[in-house]
């Protein structure tokens, strides 16, 4: 059976220890050198970056999140042992792990680390589909001749380089499609390297719960439960037509996934469906001026990203979270798509003014969706707001000033609130 040493990257034929360096970190699998679709997921990425940059944190439980409030965005493995999970409210995390060091995220450091990892992945293959800063799909099909090594070796080299050069660790899932690669990368975290081969796919999935499927959340889960579907084995008993009748488009996907089939390509340009941003406040507020300032900053951030992506959105969404964590969303369709911060802000502000709840609120979010190319954006003027086109022009002018002299070269007074 083909085998690979994760430390010295030597390939050999079976064995528990590496014949070259004698270390035991050996992966062996019958299809080891035949599989080429991988999912790389960094281990507790934000927390690892913090520990790397501040060695005093190394042996302490570290939680990344917005102060004492907000939610856990990442917890290091020490904190995870105590039960802290990402997306958990901070107060709950601190109850489980009172000695945790809470670090406010340093997004610029994470973006930089992510960029370095991305550069390393670029050395492996041009077909990379990033899912977020810390995870990506890679398709290494046909790269073996170029690298003089099969994909498995190159992936082992990637995580080794990440650890040696950046001080960050990651887990690899290697399989024959995206779905299984993603499932695999989660099997043996941290510093894992898991393989799901073609031959074992059916037996591997049979007793696993369907919630492994990316995108099966609470609602789908409940619908599946109702149909008596808990495992992939349960799914296999359904005819395709019945699944489609019951779950619509999702049903067809479920039928294929139950058979370990996923024909989605690793795509370097996955379509973006929405652009949004939200912020959790230092303390709950119902102050309209403060909230208005946040609406503007979020709208501006969303517009900046839309402009960078050359996209515009036709639907503007406003999200508010009350003190008791219950959320409220309002959305409205515009006549034509927009990428202008001023329009996003005014629309979101209009939605905000219609909310009868006076707060206090703990979180505010602004987003655009139903995206289309920027060329179709902001083409229709507003009869009742003749100033709109002037403000849009002023915004484009400030954009070019900021592009030349930096993001703080010119800001709206509203942003300072």
């Amino acid at each position: 059976m083909p085998a690979l040493c994760r430390d010295c990257l030597k390939t050999f034929d079976a064995g528990k220890r590496c014949p070259e360096c004698g270390r035991p970190r050996v992966i062996s699998h019958p299809e080891l050198f035949d599989l080429s679709i991988a999912h790389m997921d960094c281990d507790a990425f934000y927390a690892s970056v913090e520990k790397r940059d501040d060695p005093s944190l190394r042996d302490k439980p570290v939680i990344i999140g917005g102060g004492r409030r907000g939610v856990v965005s990442t917890a290091c493995y020490i904190a995870r042992i105590r039960g802290v999970r990402s997306a958990m409210p901070m107060f709950q995390a601190l109850k489980l792990c009172p000695d945790a060091v809470v670090v406010k995220g340093r997004m610029s450091a994470y973006v930089e680390a992510s960029r370095q990892i991305r550069a390393m992945m670029d050395d492996l293959t041009p077909v990379i589909e990033p899912l977020s800063l810390d995870e990506a799909f890679l398709d290494l099909k046909g790269t073996a001749r170029l690298h003089h090594a099969p994909p498995a070796v190159m992936l082992a080299r990637l995580v080794k380089r990440m650890e040696d050069e950046l001080g960050l660790t990651g887990s690899i899932g290697l399989s024959h499609n995206k779905f299984l690669a993603k499932v695999a990368s989660d099997l043996d975290k941290p510093k894992g390297f898991s393989i799901i081969g073609k031959a074992e796919t059916a037996s591997f999935l049979k007793d696993r719960p369907v919630r492994l499927i990316w995108g099966v959340g609470g609602q789908t889960q409940a619908a599946l439960d109702k149909a008596g579907i808990r495992t992939f084995g349960d799914l296999l008993r359904w005819e395709k037509v019945d699944l489609v009748a019951r779950f619509g488009g999702m049903g067809e996907r479920l039928w294929h996934l139950a058979r370990g089939e996923d024909r989605r390509r690793v795509s370097a340009h996955a379509p973006v469906k929405s652009i949004s941003n939200e912020t959790t406040f230092g303390e709950d507020t119902s102050d309209v001026d403060i909230l208005d300032g946040h609406i503007w900053r979020l709208a501006e951030n969303v517009a900046d990203r839309a402009k960078a992506k050359n996209k515009a959105g036709r639907v503007v969404t406003l999200k508010l979270k009350r003190s008791n964590h219950s959320a409220l969303t309002r959305r409205v369709s515009l006549g034509d798509p927009t990428q202008i911060a001023d329009r996003i802000y005014r629309t979101a502000r209009g939605l905000f003014d219609q909310v009868s709840d006076e707060g206090p609120f703990r979180l505010l979010g602004v987003g655009i969706s139903h995206l289309s190319p920027a060329s179709t954006a902001d083409v229709e003027g507003d009869l009742l707001d003749p100033g709109a086109s002037l403000r849009a022009g002023a915004e484009r002018a400030s954009d070019s000033i900021r592009a030349r002299f930096g993001p703080d070269a010119i800001v709206k007074g509203r942003a300072l609130r």
């Binding site: 409205v332 209009g350 003014d353 902001d378 083409v379 229709e380 003027g381 507003d382 009869l383 707001d385």
Partner: protein, 372 residues
């Protein structure tokens, strides 16, 4: 209660009622129509709490009384009964059921007590006047296409009816706009309308009102207060709350200094716009108008799907101009023109354009251009 009524009269009354009731509502009584029988007529009342419609029809009343039943169900039953049949409605008040009998068909419907039915409070109206059906029809038909559906600007979700000064006199005026186009329609001032407060008549009310206006000879009594408007046609009364908001100052939106004048056959123009717009699959399809010396070229260029061009002979004698519009808006305003040529008045490619029928100033449309 026991009454007999002609199927066609019942169908008309219940049809009107069931279109007012909300399809989805959480208050059961609001799905019902209130039937009241007295003297020699029956009345049918339905409401969604914003609009109330009361339809009166001659009936043979054997036992006066009142009850409420599901409006949609009753409408469906009556619709399926054979034409010309006589329908008997009976409610004994005790069983909680109303029977519907016609020929050999017999139905029994659950009722809710009439006391639970919300009847809209009567109010004092500040203006009362009479308008013929064709006049009201014109005011609302020609303006309603421009009503906004955008809920953040709720004060645009209706037609603004008010008294305005025009040509040295006063007119009864309806205005609607969604920020992209605007319609301003005037009618002669009816006697009694002087004290009319400006009101925004909601979109749904405009739709319901239309059903009262089919008869050319009908005279409609209109009553208006700050909060309500009532339209009374023979046998049917529609009362509606008006939108509580301030309609924006539309007068500054209507361009007065546009000098570039295009005159074109509206039907030919609409057909050409429709044809060239076919190649574009975008949601808001932009049509470019290129004008030069009695020549209009309509063109659409959709990079992903194709391009189209069509030339029309028109009357145009000003400087050459290129201007883009949303095809849908052009079609809608062009379809308002039915007697004379459409006259467009342009300023520049970025300014609002005005359109009217010939030199008729009583129906004016404004449309915002699109960047193309």
């Amino acid at each position: 209660m026991k009454l007999s009524i002609e199927r066609s009269a019942l169908l008309k009354a219940v049809g009107q009622a069931q279109s007012v009731v909300e399809r989805r509502n959480t208050i059961p009584i609001l799905a019902n129509v209130l039937i009241e029988a007295e003297g020699d007529q029956a009345s049918f009342r339905a409401t969604d709490l914003d609009i109330e419609v009361v339809d009166e029809a001659p009936a043979k009343v054997e036992r006066a009384g009142a009850t409420t039943v599901n409006a949609v169900t009753l409408h469906e039953i009556v619709r399926k009964l054979p034409d010309g049949s006589l329908v008997t409605l009976t409610d004994d008040g005790a069983s909680g059921r109303m029977t519907v009998e016609a020929g050999r068909s017999n139905f029994s419907l659950a009722t809710l007590p009439r006391e639970d039915f919300p009847v809209m409070a009567t109010s004092e109206y500040e203006a009362n006047f009479v308008c013929s059906a064709p006049v009201l029809r014109r005011l609302f038909d020609k303006s309603k296409f421009a009503i906004s559906t955008e809920e953040t600007r709720y004060y645009l979700n209706g037609v603004y009816m008010h008294i305005a000064d025009a040509n040295g006199g006063q007119v009864l005026r309806c205005v609607a706009t969604d920020g992209h186009r605007l319609a301003r329609i005037d009618a002669d001032m009816p006697a009694g309308a002087e004290g009319l407060p400006g009101v925004i008549v909601p979109r749904k009310t405009v739709g319901e009102l239309r059903k009262l206006l089919d008869d050319d000879d009908a005279e409609i009594a209109v009553s208006v207060s700050e909060t309500k408007i009532r339209f009374a046609a023979p046998g049917i009364t529609l009362t509606s709350k008006v939108i509580d908001g301030t309609f924006p100052d539309y007068t500054r939106v209507i361009p007065s200094g546009n000098t570039r004048r295009l005159e074109v056959d509206a039907a030919e123009f609409a057909k050409a716009v429709d044809r060239v717009a076919t190649v574009s699959s975008e949601r808001s399809r932009a049509v470019k108008l290129s004008l030069d010396e009695d020549r209009l070229v309509l063109s659409v260029n959709a990079p992903d799907s194709g391009a189209a061009e069509e030339e029309l002979a028109v009357a145009y004698g000003d400087d050459a101009l290129e201007i883009g519009f949303n095809a849908k808006y052009l079609l809608e305003i062009a379809s308002q023109v039915d007697r004379e040529n459409a006259v467009f008045l342009f300023n520049s490619s970025g300014d609002p354009t005005l359109m009217r029928e010939g030199n008729d100033e009583t129906a004016v449309y404004v449309v915002m251009p699109m960047r193309v």
